[in-house]
Symmetry: C2
Subunit: 284 residues, 2 copies
């Protein structure tokens, strides 16, 4: 393996930073995770990431590049991270430059949902397609868009933010002055709260932990009517944003990933797509 | 002028078909309008359009091509019109082929909102931009999108349909099984109905004709509080869809045209854009 061109991929999450070595898109070695919240500032965490990079390079001397996916707004050409909602100390951090100076390797920094979209397009469910929309459902909701065989980054590299699109013009205020943002309806916490309230209202209260999406899927599969109703509601909300993408972009496929997507059929069967030309839906 | 390369442009509307001769995008002669509703079927209307084409050619022998904008879904490569909501007899009409056979000139057929977006991008408010969203506000709501210097047509050439995007996941059923479509809130008729109901509810009823957008603009400029309130509501609804475009596509500009857009400041001043990177808004 030692002559092959290799790259390091870094998945920077609010909980942990996962790093690994890739050969043509396949993970061939994974490094120990770094706990994101142990770091109060960006610089010490970047140095810790660099330490992991050097450990991987000592085993794989042919590493030629580093790619990093970040959970926030990234200025793609400069690799500057505008800010991270869930990690302290990350405002206007020139991650691409800093990591490049430490490791002396080419570095690409991109929004994590764009990374997911790109990976699914190049090597996954969207392979060979010209037009697709990818969405990640988890704590938050992210997205990435491919149009005419190109990633859509927009005028300031902040395109693809499905989680911030509105599903209700009279909805509650969102994080960025928007109203009724999808993320405020179908995030993990919002689904848990919705279920918790529904069980309480039905006179059959459940612990919060039983209302989390993973457990709520199990309950629904066992025929629990309240859980089934919650998934129907979530599907209705989600389908509104997905259909908006269809009307605007007319993609060949919608690719859905992330924790909430594990609900699978429960979430996607009730999604009624009545668009003129239905895209294929992949849950990955 | 007789040596210059010229083209015929045809704006096919639900009320009339307007044709003219263009030199480098400038209208140099306009033909008499054809009344769309005088024709019950597509074929006689196409023959009538061809007659106008020949009249224009007799004056301008150097005409080299014909472009047609249609108010409906168009299969761009074949120039087939799927259907027209407001004109009888137009289902699966191969307009490009039929007009080409009659006139023996190259013919391009495109959705009219895409034509507007293309024209504004190449020669109007969006000149020189890489990313823009254009929207037409009138009886219905249409749209066209430019991303990375290309028109976005999508997998089946039905992209850009802003009027069909939802602003309320619990809204009324739309024409295509969607719910809460923008077009069902901010079309001419919807604004008129909203105003008519508001005046009645306030105990100061007005005729329907006084509630139409043009007159409602005049009333608002005179300080009429109900009219001002209606424009505020319309702006809130419209801004929801425009912000969704910003979050998904991050355009440099939004270009707004059509009858309702004539309300100008009344409509656009209250539109609160709180996006990270605000696009410029042009009313054309």
């Amino acid at each position: 393996m030692s002559d092959l061109p290799l790259a390091i991929g870094i998945d920077f999450g609010g909980t942990s930073v996962k790093s690994g070595v890739l050969y043509r898109g396949n993970l061939i070695e994974e490094a120990p995770r770094i706990e994101t919240q142990e770091f109060e500032e960006a610089r010490p965490l970047i140095e810790r990431i660099h330490q992991t990079v050097e450990e991987l390079r000592s085993k794989h001397p042919r590493i030629e590049a580093i790619g990093v996916g970040m959970p926030g707004f990234v200025d793609f050409p400069t690799g500057m991270v505008h800010n991270l909602t869930n990690v302290k100390g990350w405002q206007r951090i020139y991650l691409k430059r800093e990591l490049n100076e430490l490791a002396n390797l080419p570095v690409t920094v991109e929004n994590d949902a764009n990374c997911m979209a790109y990976a699914e397009w190049k090597r996954g469910a969207g392979r060979g397609m010209r037009h697709l929309v990818a969405i990640t459902l988890g704590t938050g909701v992210g997205g990435g868009i491919v149009v005419d065989n190109h990633m859509v980054r927009g005028a300031n590299f902040v395109a693809g933010e499905l989680g911030q699109t509105s599903i209700d013009y009279q909805g509650p205020d969102g994080a960025y002055g928007n109203r009724g943002s999808l993320e405020d309806y179908v995030g993990n916490q919002q689904i848990t709260d919705l279920a918790h309230a529904a069980y309480a209202a039905a006179g059959t209260p459940r612990e919060k932990s039983e209302c989390e999406p993973a457990h709520l899927s199990t309950l629904a599969r066992q025929g629990d009517q309240i859980a089934l109703g919650i998934w129907d509601s979530v599907a209705k909300m989600l389908s509104t944003s997905l259909m908006n993408c269809c009307w605007l972009l007319n993609p060949e496929a919608i690719i859905i990933g992330g924790g909430v997507a594990k609900a699978g059929d429960l979430l996607f069967n009730p999604v009624s797509y009545t668009h003129l030309t239905l895209p294929t839906i992949y849950s990955v």
